[in-house]
Amino acid sequence: MQYKRRDFLKISGITAAGTIAMPSLLQSCKGLTLSGSLSDYFDHFEVTPALLKKVISTALSKGGDYADLYFEHTLSNNSVLMDGKVNQAQSNVAYGVGIRVLKGDQTGYAFTEIISPEAMLNAAGTAASIADDAGSNFAGDMNELLTPNLYPVTRSWEDTSIKDKIPFLERANEKIFALDKKVTKVTASIGDTSSYILFYNSEGVLACDYRPLVYLSVNCVMEQNGRIENFSVSSSARKGSEFLTDELVDRLAKEAVEKANRQFLAGKPKAGEMEVVMSPGESGILLHEAIGHAFEADFNRKNTSIFSDKLNKKIAEDFITIVDDGTLPSDRGALNFDDEGIPTENTVIVNKGILSSYLHDRISASYYKVRPTGNGRRQSFRFMPVPRMRSTRMENGPHKAEEIIASVKKGIYVDSFSNGQVNIGPGDFTFFVKAGYLIENGKLTMPIKDINIIGNGPQALADITMAADDAKLADGTWTCGKAGQSVPVTMGLPTVKIKKLVVGGINA
């Protein structure tokens, strides 16, 4: 298909009318001929192969070992229903190139938002200054990286008008109000993002990617006898506007109302250490905070992680296998290749109880002399990549959910979360429980809400004494923050029991 650059380069984040004939690129650059897809990206960013080589040469001019260029053009929209109407929308356009130079494990980084030869060479010169030496040789190879496309879209966000999103937000509002008379406020929003990525490095790897991302979020506020409770639920995927369906809206509406309702019955547990049973799905936040971050190899390379000397050691029961997977189709945490040109994979981090791999970027892989695992990620071209999780989950265990709950005399069952955190060195991690239940004599009893749970990563992992056969991946809008950068992730877990964690609550 032939088209002009002017049509190609969307300059507005928001699509007013939709139905604009869009280039084939939007179906992803994969599957097209090499010259076809890549030349689209070269046109898009107004660069040539010769210019890319020249910029890399400049980046290596002071003796760097490695350099890469990360071109990005991201269009984001946010459409919001509040007080019964879709009466506000935001859009954002971000465009630029990040230039990175590595010398050993040292990094020089600069970016420019103006992609001109002068600006790029200038930024390359700044990044180059991490090294202070004679220039390095650069062969100037250029080989396209081809990977399967994990996130084909039926209809791209750039081809979707805001008027096509409004009915879904209105439906969420109507459904939630119809489900319960106590509902007094509904907020619903759709956030969609389309990113074009062009990557080139001094090893000659050339790659392009089209990355869609969307979430639908609803919040429901209820009032009863002067008491106010609220609950938010959301779903997210790397999909186009085929993501938006009546079924999805109805599911989220129902869950928000059910969970907000449950909060009226909820109290606080008694403060202290107790057994904790985690429900399947978003309880995977346990893995993310308790061990995931501490497995990121930058912390281990720097010796600051509590897991720094635990590689190939037994850290959990034999029935526990945990993976960090970048290859799940249309998953929020999926990437065809990571942000430093490495194809993603399903990395086994705990294999039958043994710590089998950290999560690597190029720097840490080179330090540990292993293959990178495709975990080098960045928030945008404005940031250097660092090791990050993708979709972190535990495989099925040998137990049954009912038997796990029945085994607890006095503890809690938790099933909804809002956030978590970890201190890498001491290994103390937390997650905030939006909703759960007390377990008394093997049965779920009073609902509980709004409590923080704190534990120690290695100890908590060793204390997982039971895991069920009901592993589930959560599709919520989880965003992970590290070193000032946010990236989309997902998480999953079967029902598990942890022998003891410190549960926030009241003291009688």
Binding site: I14, K85, V86, A271, Q421, K449, D450, I451, G505
Partner: protein, 438 residues
């Protein structure tokens, strides 16, 4: 772009939006530059430079509202960007409350320009940045055999913004910031404790450059050997550096958005007692060299010093123009400037000394607060205090409660604020806090 060029571009965008059907428009343009140096174990680990620019246009089209931003500054693209955004805005629902502020409320000049920019930060050299970070590093590196990692960081930033509205506001601001930090990790038989320290300032000359590495090391070493302790109600001394963490849920509850959307536990509490007599907070936009000082807010509204909480009585919310209209309240400003506490007489050390048995909290680990109800629960880092002395670090503890009761239990405010922060919160002592441990 210099300031005049930014004004011209903003005015061009406004004229184009008005021509294409918008009735009101607000445009802001910001350019910023940020440089970071990180040194780890005496080697430069990272050098980064970032130059950003952004243009945001708020459109009011036939009672419909949307907001758009881009970093593509080419004029022909901006014009098309605005045209498409206007067409899209027309698909939204009408909202009678969406209008630019009443021009009467705009800042119209006359006050001295706040002292928030240091030209010497704008022209800093990389060599000086690295030298400053190295000096911080040297204070900690190799000073204890248990050290496994020392990082020292230097960061500076300058930003220049203009804002223009179609109903008569024009204003520009310039800000600078500079900071030095250190983070130390040590290896023990019980994990790898780490802690940090930093200093920040608007002006290079006012930045404290000594003692940062030393303090980070000292703070890390005192964390060695934490023990879990029993759950219970204890008094708490909250270190000034982290006190703003517990003030932030209170501040969220003061916003017009939270009140209108039923996410505020302080709705309908104006002129009522919401905290102990000890708590008095002013919002002071004109504090000399205050990091939050400004003459106008993000909407162009003129700012004045206001009481937020006076002797525990809630005096003022933070109300922007939109929620002011929706709530039928006078707009004050939707955002805080310098949050200034009325100070007590003791410093942190004396507050700790005055505790018979309590917890000295120096950091937080996760947690959250339910805005609608005020229920909170946070992980903490800190120390067990007995008879006025620190006994040992504690680990795996949460504090839980309700914000309404928590601030009623404020027993004493310290006299020690953090200079570099717009939240001028001293160390605080709070009675009867629910701690969960073993």
């Amino acid at each position: 772009m210099n300031t005049q060029e930014k004004y011209s571009l903003a005015e061009m965008v406004i004229a184009h939006a008005l021509k294409n059907g918008a009735q009101q428009v607000s445009v802001s343009i910001t350019e910023s530059r940020n440089n970071d140096v990180e040194i780890r174990n005496q080697q430069v680990d990272r050098l980064t430079e970032s130059n950003r620019n952004s243009l945001t246009v708020d459109l009011y089209v036939d009672k419909k509202f949307s907001s758009h931003s881009t970093n593509r500054m080419k004029k022909d693209e901006l014009l098309k960007f605005v045209e498409e955004a206007i067409v899209a805005t027309r698909y939204l629902a009408e909202d009678e409350f969406r209008l630019l502020p009443d021009p009467e409320r705009y800042y119209k000049g006359g006050s001295p320009v706040p002292d928030t920019f240091d030209q010497s930060v704008a022209t800093m050299e990389t060599r000086i940045r690295i030298d400053l970070a190295r000096a911080v590093m040297d204070e900690a590196f190799n000073r204890d055999e248990r050290i496994i990692s020392v990082s020292a960081g230097y960061s500076d930033s300058v930003s220049n913004s203009v804002m223009v509205t179609s109903n008569g506001f024009k204003g520009d601001t310039a800000r600078s910031g500079i900071s030095l930090s250190a983070s130390v990790s040590v290896k023990t038989d019980q994990g790898r404790p780490s802690d940090y320290w930093y200093e920040s300032a608007i002006f290079f000359d006012k930045l404290k450059k000594k003692g940062i590495g030393e303090k980070a090391l000292e703070r890390t070493l005192r964390k060695i050997g934490p023990r879990k302790i029993s759950s219970g109600k204890y008094p708490m001394v909250l270190e000034n550096r982290v006190a703003a963490n517990l003030l932030s849920p209170l501040y969220s509850a003061l916003s017009g958005y939270s009140i209108y959307q039923k996410q505020s536990f302080l709705a309908d509490k104006k002129d009522q007692k919401i905290a102990s007599d000890i708590l008095t907070i002013y919002d002071d936009p004109h504090l000399p060299s205050g990091p939050g000082s400004r003459n106008f807010d993000g909407e162009g509204l003129a700012l004045a010093k206001r009481a937020v909480i006076e002797k525990g009585i809630l005096k003022n919310y933070y109300i922007d123009t939109y929620y002011g209209r929706k709530l039928g309240m006078e707009p004050t400003s939707g955002s805080s400037t310098n949050v200034v506490f009325t100070l007590g007489s003791k410093d942190m050390e004396s507050l700790v000394k005055s505790m018979k048995k309590g917890i000295f909290v120096t950091g937080f680990n996760g947690g959250n607060c339910n805005g609608s109800t005020g229920d909170f629960s946070y992980g903490i880092e800190g120390y067990l205090v007995e008879n006025g002395s620190i006994v040992h670090p504690v680990n795996e503890m949460n504090i839980s409660g309700n914000m309404k009761q928590f601030w009623m239990n404020l027993a004493e405010a310290g006299n020690d604020i953090i200079e570099g922060s717009s939240f001028r919160v001293p160390s605080l002592m709070i009675d009867q806090v629910d701690f969960s441990g073993i």
